[in-house]
């Protein structure tokens, strides 16, 4: 009994974290069960949303709170390696058993990490019911359809995403990195590839603003017989006959379009307590029965060669087709530099496709964005003068405090200090932990530069870079001043709308003769009661160009649908509309309370005195509302100034970061642009100063009021 209990306690348990859902999740669960049946080792699985998985891994593993094995795409391998959270696979990995590019993707400086599970890459999907032959060159593709009706296209793919554009760039002979390994954007191949894509769009061979959902619709409705997409697309085809082909060759250069190959691999954590078991488990997942389960149940394209000989797999046209496609593919570079390519490329692509920038200038635009996002680390300075300065300050302050109490002991000056401290302690602790510590950390962080886990002291360099707009023009969305102006416009527009709509409704609701007044009042307060991110997501959906309610209404009124997030003005308006919806109830409630406290005989007196309704509003209502509304306006302006949720969820900063406000920009610097924590902290400190200045102004405003 005692022994069995011990044995149970010591039974090894492996933890596996993954980002799978649906069939893929079921497959991995089954594979894990097989492993348990085989070895007696329990496996605990944890499905983490894919977007959050990477940050969860990098924060949990160094603290020994992470998994033993985790599944991730190979692009992050370099980062995982630098953060020392991934262990090499050593001799366990037999290269010959997997597709070559899938193993290549897992190699870092001659060492292999993890075990390849599946591959993903783009292919050309063709409808099988149009009597077409698969084009092998771009010229054939362009001429594949001789006749097209309106709103019918030859090709559809998500042209605004660099993942889809990369094969075209490579097909035009483009090279992503120069000899030194730095990303390059302003190249002839870039211009040519963009020219070609733009011409597809201009010749209406391809629709505008294509999203994944639109690709699906066009293909299923037979409005675009060719689409470029990945293996995940098979699940979205509504019983239409189709075939899968390699991407065509670019006629101009004779080079094939080589898509990126993504390899999902099972990696072993460097901090696992059971390295051998973990290695065995990761390897198990990548081979044999586990692969077959993943292929049949999870519809994955296997990295294991043997799987393609399996009878069930060989019969699956999709899987065998992808094997051919994958041979042309190049693994997505797993370098850090690659991670920096996406955002500038996306910016350039969207700028060209939306028509704002010519293909020849797009490379430069991307280059500028790249330089801005990947600012060189400011020169490291020594923190010694700072420490000395801080110490002198503290000593002076201490001495001054002591002098103040000269000749008196502390106990004499504050005879009841003990009891007083006891009373203050709970609030003080909360304040200290929740406000003061984060504030001091944020303040100090703004003096550092962060790069891949290493902090270097740079003094005021972050502030200097921000305030001098280093690396970009003042009129570009990345500039602090541009964002500040947007933020101020955002705040002003919102507060004005909140107050005017709130006040207007309050005046309507004040009328005691209004029927169902209570019902209206509750209904109008509802937007306030719903959590704001839910509201934001609802509005985001309503602003959708194709499926959104707003464009549907505009369509019925005979107005062209608006592409809300491609222009600054409409994107900004969408944000403002959403936040106005959220913000007016508060102002309405405040105004209603204040309105009801104004005696009606004042209006009667004014009426007799000769005031029209408008004059009464201007000369009686407004001045008497001011004491109640002013604090609400001040509060509302600060809330709006830092209203991160709406910006992030509704416009997401589109187009090109133009509608980002200071907080969302600070967020992006911290979490979306190479984790420049110091720079982001400096942004936050500047936000603090702006709001501090505003609070001083408002203090004066409300001071005048009470005087």
């Amino acid at each position: 009994m005692f022994i069995s209990h011990l044995a149970f306690a010591d039974a090894p348990v492996l933890k596996l974290w993954h980002g799978y859902r649906g069939g893929e999740e079921q497959a991995i669960e089954q594979a894990a069960k097989q492993f348990t049946a085989l070895t007696g080792t329990q496996v605990e699985l944890l499905a983490v949303p894919y977007d959050a998985l990477s940050s969860k891994l990098t924060s949990a593993i160094p603290h020994d709170a992470g998994p033993d094995v985790f599944i991730f795409a190979h692009e992050r391998l370099r980062q995982f390696h630098r953060m020392k959270i991934v262990a090499p696979s050593g001799n366990g990995l037999d290269r010959s058993k997997y597709l070559k590019p899938s193993v290549d993707a897992l190699e870092l400086d001659g060492v292999l990490y993890g075990y390849p599970l599946s591959i993903k890459c783009l292919a050309l999907f063709m409808r099988g019911d149009r009597g077409l032959t698969a084009p092998t060159t771009t010229a054939e593709l362009e001429n594949a359809l001789t006749e097209r009706r309106q709103n019918q296209f030859t090709l559809a793919y998500e042209a605004g995403d660099f993942y889809f554009h990369a094969p075209i760039l490579f097909g035009f002979g483009g090279v992503l990195f120069d000899e030194k390994g730095r990303a390059q954007f302003d190249t002839p191949a870039m211009t040519k590839s963009l020219n070609w894509v733009k011409s597809l769009q201009d010749r209406k061979l391809m629709p505008q603003e294509v999203s994944g959902a639109l690709v699906k619709t066009l293909f299923n409705e037979n409005r675009a017989p060719f689409v470029i997409t990945g293996p995940w697309f098979t699940g979205e085809i509504d019983g239409v006959p189709y075939s899968i082909h390699p991407l065509p060759t670019v006629s101009e250069t004779g080079l094939p379009m080589a898509p990126f190959l993504g390899v999902e691999a099972a990696f072993v954590s460097s901090r696992t307590q059971q390295p051998e078991l973990a290695q065995a488990f990761a390897k198990f997942l990548s081979l044999g029965d586990a692969t077959i389960i993943r292929v049949t149940l999870g519809r994955q394209i296997p990295a294991e060669l043997a799987a393609y000989d399996n009878e069930a797999v060989a019969k699956d046209p999709m899987i065998s087709a992808f094997r051919t496609v994958a041979e042309r593919a190049t693994p997505t570079p797993n370098t850090l530099e690659m991670a920096r390519v996406w955002e500038p490329m996306k910016l350039a692509l969207r700028a060209v496709l939306q028509g704002g920038v010519s293909p020849a200038d797009a490379g430069q635009l991307a280059e500028r964005r790249y330089r801005a996002l990947n600012r060189e680390a400011p020169p490291t300075t020594t923190p010694v003068p700072w420490i000395i300065g801080l110490s002198i300050g503290l000593v002076t302050f201490g001495g001054w405090q002591l002098r103040q109490g000269k000749g008196k002991t502390f106990a004499k000056r504050y005879p009841e200090a003990g009891r007083g401290l006891l009373y203050v302690a709970p609030a003080a602790t909360g304040l200290f932990v929740l406000v003061i510590i984060p504030f001091v950390i944020g303040l100090s962080l703004s003096l550092f530069h962060h790069d891949a886990g290493e902090y270097t002291f740079v003094g005021f360099a972050n502030f200097a870079d921000i305030l001098t707009s280093k690396g970009y023009r003042i009129t570009e969305p990345l500039s602090f001043y541009f964002t500040l102006v947007v933020t101020l416009a955002w705040t002003l527009a919102n507060v004005v709308l909140h107050v005017s709509i709130g006040l207007f409704l309050a005046i309507l609701l004040k009328d005691p003769l209004l029927k169902l007044r209570g019902v209206y009042r509750v209904l109008l307060i509802v937007p306030w009661a719903v959590p704001n991110y839910i509201t934001a997501l609802m509005w985001k959906g309503m602003f959708h160009q194709q499926f959104g309610a707003i464009n549907a209404i505009l369509g019925h009124l005979g107005i062209e649908p608006v592409s809300w997030f491609t222009q600054w003005s409409t994107s900004f308006a969408a944000n403002v509309i959403t936040n106005t919806w959220l913000g007016f109830p508060f102002m309405m409630v405040v105004s209603l309370g204040a309105l009801q406290s104004i005696p009606t005989d004042l209006y009667e007196a004014a009426e007799v005195d000769g005031a029209s309704k408008w004059t009464q509003f201007r000369r009686i209502t407004l001045p008497l509302l001011k004491p109640a509304l002013l604090p609400a306006v001040i509060l509302g302006s600060v809330w709006t100034f830092n209203m991160f949720n709406i910006i992030y969820l509704v416009s997401g900063g589109e187009p090109g970061g133009g509608t980002d406000i200071l907080v969302s920009e600070a967020f992006r610097w911290a979490f979306q642009r190479n984790e420049q924590y110091g720079f982001a902290a400096a942004y936050s400190v500047l936000i603090f100063f702006v709001l501090f200045a505003w609070s001083q102004v408002t203090k004066r405003l409300s001071g005048e009021e009470s005087a």
Binding site: P599, A605, E607, V608, D609, G610, A611, S612, R619, L624
Partner: protein, 353 residues
């Protein structure tokens, strides 16, 4: 200065009939006081004249012009509210100037009118204060000043003195009377206080339950009330009313007989003002003293008699609660009303209108 004519004014709020057809003529320069118990419709009528309420039917004619559809600001009336309704965010000066500014009166003219009103009402030192820094009486004067500077053709007052203490009320009453003399403008004044009505009015209109009971000079109403309600409403303490029956040359009631006057017959109500009765050792009515209101040398005793409560005046005499005393009428003082009190049948002859 202008006349006001009300023809068949009716007003109800939902089921509640407040004014039941009032006809009233106010002559130019008159100080008309509308008086009655609360809920009698006098304030509503005033608000209808001001234009703050719409009459359900009837006509309001001011200065010969039908005002039914005219908004208050174009009726050229000034109104002093019971709560004063001063604009709390404006100084005294701004409060008074507000109406003039809205009427686009030139600045120097505004200044001089405000200064004039301030002098008249002794508001000079208070001009830059806000209403919350003023006492009740001062606010009251500002409210009047606000109307005076506008020089409207008609002044309306809605119980303006009811929020003041007695001493101030007496003082303000004097000032109002002086103001009326000085301006000579038509004023309509609503109150529930018969003393204000008696002291201020050139004519008094007594209302009850939305009906105009009697309109006339204060003394006429006092001496020749048209019905028992008016008789009781004016005068303090109010008139004693006792039921009686004509029996030959006598009025016989519960526990008393009085020599009959006039030519009435059958059941009547007898009206005797307390001022006309004296507490005496002998008299037609007898009862126990329930309460005494001593005003100094004289006072009133309230007796419980077989015919009901009776108030009577006394002078000097030592009247105590619990004493059994009689009351004696002082000459021909008998008012006689129909048994339901709706109609006066006789007034003492010495008090011809």
């Amino acid at each position: 200065m202008s006349d006001v004519r009300l023809v068949g004014i009716k007003k109800s709020f939902g089921e509640n009939v407040i004014v039941r057809g009032v006809d009233l003529d106010v002559t130019p320069g008159e100080f008309l006081v509308m008086v009655g118990p609360s809920g009698c419709g006098k304030t509503t009528l005033l608000r209808i004249i001001a234009g703050l309420e719409q009459a359900d039917s009837g006509d309001i004619v001011i200065g010969g012009k039908n005002m039914n559809e005219v908004p208050p600001r174009e009726r050229d009336v000034g109104m002093v509210f019971q709560s004063y309704a001063l604009y709390p965010h404006m100084t005294v000066k701004e409060n008074m100037a507000f109406g003039l500014e809205l009427r686009k009166v030139p600045r120097p003219e505004i200044e001089s009118r405000v200064a004039e009103a301030a002098r008249m009402l002794e508001l000079g030192p208070l001009l830059d204060r806000k209403p919350k820094a003023l006492s009740g009486g001062q606010r009251q004067r500002v409210a009047m000043g606000r109307v005076i500077v506008r020089r409207p053709q008609l002044f309306l007052f809605d119980e303006p003195l009811s929020n003041l203490d007695t001493a101030l009320r007496v003082q303000m009453r004097g000032e109002l009377a002086r103001l009326h003399r000085a301006l000579g403008v038509t004023m309509i004044y609503v109150t529930h206080d018969q003393v204000e009505a008696m002291t201020l009015a050139t004519r008094v209109a007594v209302f009850n339950k939305g009906v105009l009971q009697q309109l006339g000079a204060p003394l006429e109403l006092y001496n020749r009330p048209t019905n028992a309600f008016v008789a009781q409403f004016l005068g303090s303490p109010s008139m004693n009313l006792i039921d009686a029956k004509r029996d030959g040359a006598k009025f016989v009631g519960a526990g008393f007989t009085l020599p009959a006057v006039g030519d009435t017959s059958g059941e009547v109500k007898l009206g005797l003002r307390p001022q006309d009765l004296r507490v005496a050792s002998e008299g037609p009515l007898r009862g126990e003293v329930e309460a005494v209101e001593r005003l100094g040398f004289d006072g009133y005793a309230f007796l419980k008699t077989a015919a009901g409560s009776i108030a009577a005046r006394f002078e000097g005499a030592d009247v105590q609660v619990g004493q059994n005393v009689a009351v004696q009428p002082m000459g021909d003082v008998l008012h006689i009303f129909s048994a339901d009190g709706a109609k006066a049948l006789r007034h003492p002859e010495a008090r011809g209108a």
